[in-house]
């Protein structure tokens, strides 16, 4: 409480007093910003700088232990960009993200339209279920899906076999890259739909019901109403949701690592896992940083699109 007494009183400050306070006053906002600046710069910009400089160095375990720095110019970039596996992993990551984003937006839109059309009780039920899925942490979603799709005792194999969809008792979803991908897509889409669905639903509520009503009177069907009224009005929202989803679905390290670990036979390795394997498992810190730089550049350009979409919506 001593600080309060020590502080000079501002009350009805005469002009001269105010001027005398000036130097301190001027440094106050900077002082208040100092902790945040230190936090952000030391723990975010410094690693970014380290990552950039590492991408131009040969840095393996021996270099790390002996503290030697060997600059190799663009060699890491040459190695990575001529690495056949990198050219498998990159399109795979982007393709995976594209499939997930597409499914998320379609299912999310479907859920939003259903929420709008449903009775009150059904709407409450679906939104509660969506919030439950949304609130589930990514890592928990991943371990639970691994359990759902367990080859021996997983409930999915049991349900699919009992329903006659397939004879998949003892079927291992993670033994084949394509079915492993199917599980990963299901996991990511399950986690991503709630946010998208509830955002689109909130967007739908901002559209005056009279518009759709008028169109219906003029004989427009639901598809026409969506294409001609809802889509044009919600386009900025869709732009934002698309960019955010692409960014999120490109960064899927926990989902992959906790289910397939990149297997079988490296078949589900995506950029995040590749960086981990190269950097942490093989101690090729230089090459791993190079991949990380490329990934950062890719995601930053996407974020730039996001900011533009935000600005367009604000307009």
């Amino acid at each position: 409480m001593g600080t309060i007494e020590a502080e000079p009183v501002i009350a009805s400050v005469p002009v001269q007093r105010a001027q005398r306070r000036r130097p301190r006053e001027r440094s106050l906002p900077y002082l208040l910003l100092l902790p945040a600046t230190v936090t952000v710069f030391l723990t975010l910009l410094y690693p970014v700088a380290t990552m950039l400089s590492l991408s131009f160095q040969r840095e393996n375990l021996a270099d790390l232990v002996t503290h030697t720095t060997t600059w190799v110019g663009l060699e890491n970039y040459r190695t990575v960009l001529t690495d056949r596996f990198f050219w498998t992993v990159l399109p795979r990551t982007l393709g995976f993200a594209a499939v997930c984003v597409g499914l998320t937006l379609v299912i999310g839109t479907g859920c939003a339209l259903l929420l709008q059309a449903a009775s009150r009780w059904a709407r409450t039920l679906l939104s509660l279920a969506l919030v439950a899925a949304w609130a589930t942490p990514v890592l928990i979603g991943a371990v639970v899906f691994k359990w759902l799709f367990d080859p021996e005792f997983g409930v999915i194999n049991y349900l699919a076999s009992s329903a006659g969809v397939c004879d998949c008792r003892h079927h291992s979803w993670f033994a084949d890259p394509w079915s492993a991908f199917a599980v990963l897509v299901a996991l990511v889409v399950w986690g991503a739909v709630p946010f998208v669905a509830l955002s689109i639903y909130a967007g739908l509520l901002t559209i005056a019901p009279e518009l759709a009503e008028a169109a219906r009177v003029d004989g427009a069907g639901p598809v026409r109403i969506f294409v001609s009224i809802i889509w044009p009005m919600l386009r900025p929202l869709y732009a934002i949701l698309t960019v955010l989803s692409v960014i999120w679905d490109t960064k899927v390290f926990p989902q992959v690592w906790l289910t397939t670990k990149g297997g079988p036979y490296q078949g589900t390795v995506m950029l995040g896992v590749y960086i981990y394997q190269k950097g942490i498992n093989n101690s090729q810190f230089g090459a791993a940083s190079t991949i990380a730089v490329l990934m950062t550049v890719m995601l930053l350009s996407l974020s730039w699109l996001y900011v533009r979409a935000m600005r367009d919506e604000a307009r």
Binding site: I4, E7, I10, A11, L28, P29, Y30, L32, P35, A36, T39, V40, L44, L45, P47, V48, T50, L54, E59, L64, C111, A117, A118, W121, L126, V131, A132, A133, W134, T136, P137, I140, V144, W147, L148, D150, E152, F153, Y158, R169, A202, L205, T206, I207, I247, K251, F253, P254, W257, L258, G272, I275, G279, I280, S289, A292, V293, M295, L300, S303
Partner: protein
Amino acid sequence: MRATGLTATVAGRRRLVDGSCVVLALIFVFPVYWMASTALKADRDIVSYTPQFVPWPIDLSNLRQVLGDDTFWHALRSSLLVTVAVVVAGTVVALSAAVSLARFRFRGRAGFVLALIIVQMIPGEALFIPYYLMLRNLGLLGHLTGLMLVYLSFTVPFTVWMLRGFVAAIPVELEEAAAIDGASRWQTFWRILFPLVAPGLLATSIFAFITAWTEFTYAYVLINDPANYPLPVYIQSFIGRDSTAYGPQMAVATLFTLPVIAFFLVVQRRAVAGMSAGAIKG
């Protein structure tokens, strides 16, 4: 005739819509339900070719096993330490920055705001190699301090951004009135601004809590000492080379998720209120 036919199709359509909602709700909630129900089953019902859909009679053996495990309590302690540190330090750091940005005009202000936006776009997933090396050089690899710093840097930019909005929304006249009545700067802040910005602090604290509590990648990469495992890494540790101990894993997962869902509902209710406010306008 035509009128009743129309009513019938409308009712039929409504039933179809409601039915689809129920099916979708079941699909979305099922993984969560299956996690919780597995946590409440005996091992013989978990490792069984005919799954037991309702965990009845409730069996607490897996929960009891986890709660009797010292590793669980160590992991809980690590997670709480990191989370509380991030929430408290993050709030202090971010609130002071937010007040500075919202209440003062000074050179470099616009630049700082721009930097804040750019910094938020840096993907954390690409940065674990430099963090790993930095903390290794500092001898902090495996220590929770390193993890706290990483999570702070992830949460502070967004928290400053959010709080700046909350502070700016409070009329500055209130503070001026207090100043005229003889309150010091500190008193104005503590007695006027702070209580008014408290809802914003609750929201940002929940955001920081959820981020720090549930983050997996960095916890996994940076904490290699089992004695310091936070809960996410502990949950991962049930995955064995050949098989996974699903019973205890789902028990921990359930305990781990409960506070997240609870906090989520606190924020969500306000978000839904906002949504319905928008609905009335339409």
